[in-house]
Amino acid sequence: MLLQVRQLTKSFDDKTILRGVDLDLAEGQLKVIMGPSGCGKSTLLRCLNRLIEPSSGQVIFRGKDVLQPGTDVRALRQQIGFVFQQFALYRHLSALHNVTLALRKLRGMSVREAHAKAMHELGRMNMAEHADQYPAQLSGGQKQRVAIARALAMDPAVLFFDEPTSALDPLMSREVVSVIKQLQLDNVTMLCVTHDPFLAKSIADRVMFLDEGVVRAEGTVAEIFGAHADPRIRDFFAHEHSAA
């Protein structure tokens, strides 16, 4: 197992967001976490690379509990690519330099090396011809593809997606979906948080349903999307479908 999460909890001052979450992610697997907004799925993702400090539990990444004191948090984060809902591209840097920044600063690559690596990753995302453009000049789908290239450039052990299609219109969503599918063929390990059923159905190996800070169900796409025994899950999909 690449990643094992055990009994993870998180509470802010007076609110409990996560109430003992268990999660396993194998190498090469793509797992989707779904659930209504406010269920804690984005918090869960941020707890795993400690952008948010969990309250208790274990996060075992490559055999080591990364919640132990003394863990090199920055080294941990460098092994986890993170793709945000709002892209979070550095607006003052071109697409190319968005990708090279971490290679230069964190991997210590030379300009030439970083450039070559970045162009390779942008090429994988079909964004090579836009390398010199700035974020403001790109469409939402293009921005998200640059963001994915930026995450991939660090050769991460796993890629986290936080609602990667929520800020995109359906057409651009498809762009991102096809990119994720391609990464799946390349055996990239991925963990994706979304409430977009289209995205989940298109890509997931397994789906985890999170509700009110606990895992309600886990299974294949067919199991979760089919007429599920749990009424809350049925309600969720009925609602999402009518909304879509």
Binding site: L51, H92, L106, P135
Partner: protein, 217 residues
């Protein structure tokens, strides 16, 4: 006195004016950045000290501070050269104003980009110098231009501490030629020309570092 002699005197004065202005701008930028970045550390007692510092330096007239530094400090055994006196008065006062400009610009940096950099595993200082400072400086251009203009406009105070700038040359010329009207008119235009030059320079720098579509959110 020939026109050529007058011209060369004013030209050498202009050199000193530019020197004073550049030295004070440099002091202002460095001290302003320092205050803004130290404020970013969010250490309560430190922030209180910085607030008092900026309040004092924004509240005291340039000429009064210049006199404290140049004429006052020797009285307690600290003799400060004229150019340094200008830097410690005009420079630090402009720096206190710039600190506010920089602070506002730092606040305008998009939180989500900072979080993305954290998620990549970048350190606090790497994020500061690769993301926050480059964006902040671009946001600060209008504020900096205002402050640099102010520095140029207060630079004539340098003559009161004996720096042979445009103003000092003009005073000397006016008293020897008794043509004050023409001379002060001429240096007014000279200052305006330097101002226009500075404006053009800043615009060029801004263009050089401009990023398409990049603006305050």
């Amino acid at each position: 006195m020939s026109f050529l002699q007058m011209f060369s005197l004013l030209a050498s004065g202009a050199g000193y004016t530019v020197l004073v202005t550049v030295a004070c701008i440099a002091t202002a930028v460095v001290s302003g950045l320092l205050v803004a970045l130290l404020g970013r550390l969010r250490i309560k007692p430190l922030n209180r000290v910085l607030a008092v510092y900026t309040y004092i330096f924004r509240g005291i007239p340039v000429l009064v501070l210049l006199f404290i530094v140049f004429f006052g400090l020797p009285g307690i055994g600290l003799s400060v050269p004229p150019l340094v006196s200008m830097m410690l008065s005009l420079g630090l006062i402009a720096g206190a104003y710039l600190a506010e400009v920089f602070r506002g610009a730092l606040d305008a940096v998009d939180e989500s980009e900072i979080m993305a950099a954290e998620a990549m595993g970048m350190s606090r200082s790497q994020i500061l110098f690769a993301i926050e400072v480059p964006q902040m400086l671009r946001f600060s251009v209008p504020g900096m231009l205002n402050e640099f203009t102010t520095v140029l406009k207060y630079s004539p105070f340098a003559y009161t501490v004996g720096i042979p700038d445009i103003m000092k040359q003009a005073l000397a010329l006016a008293s020897t030629t008794l043509r004050g009207l023409e001379i002060y008119l001429a240096i007014g235009l000279l200052y305006f020309a330097i101002y226009q030059l500075m404006l053009a320079l800043m615009k060029a720098v801004e263009r050089r570092f401009s990023v398409p579509g990049f603006k305050r959110l």
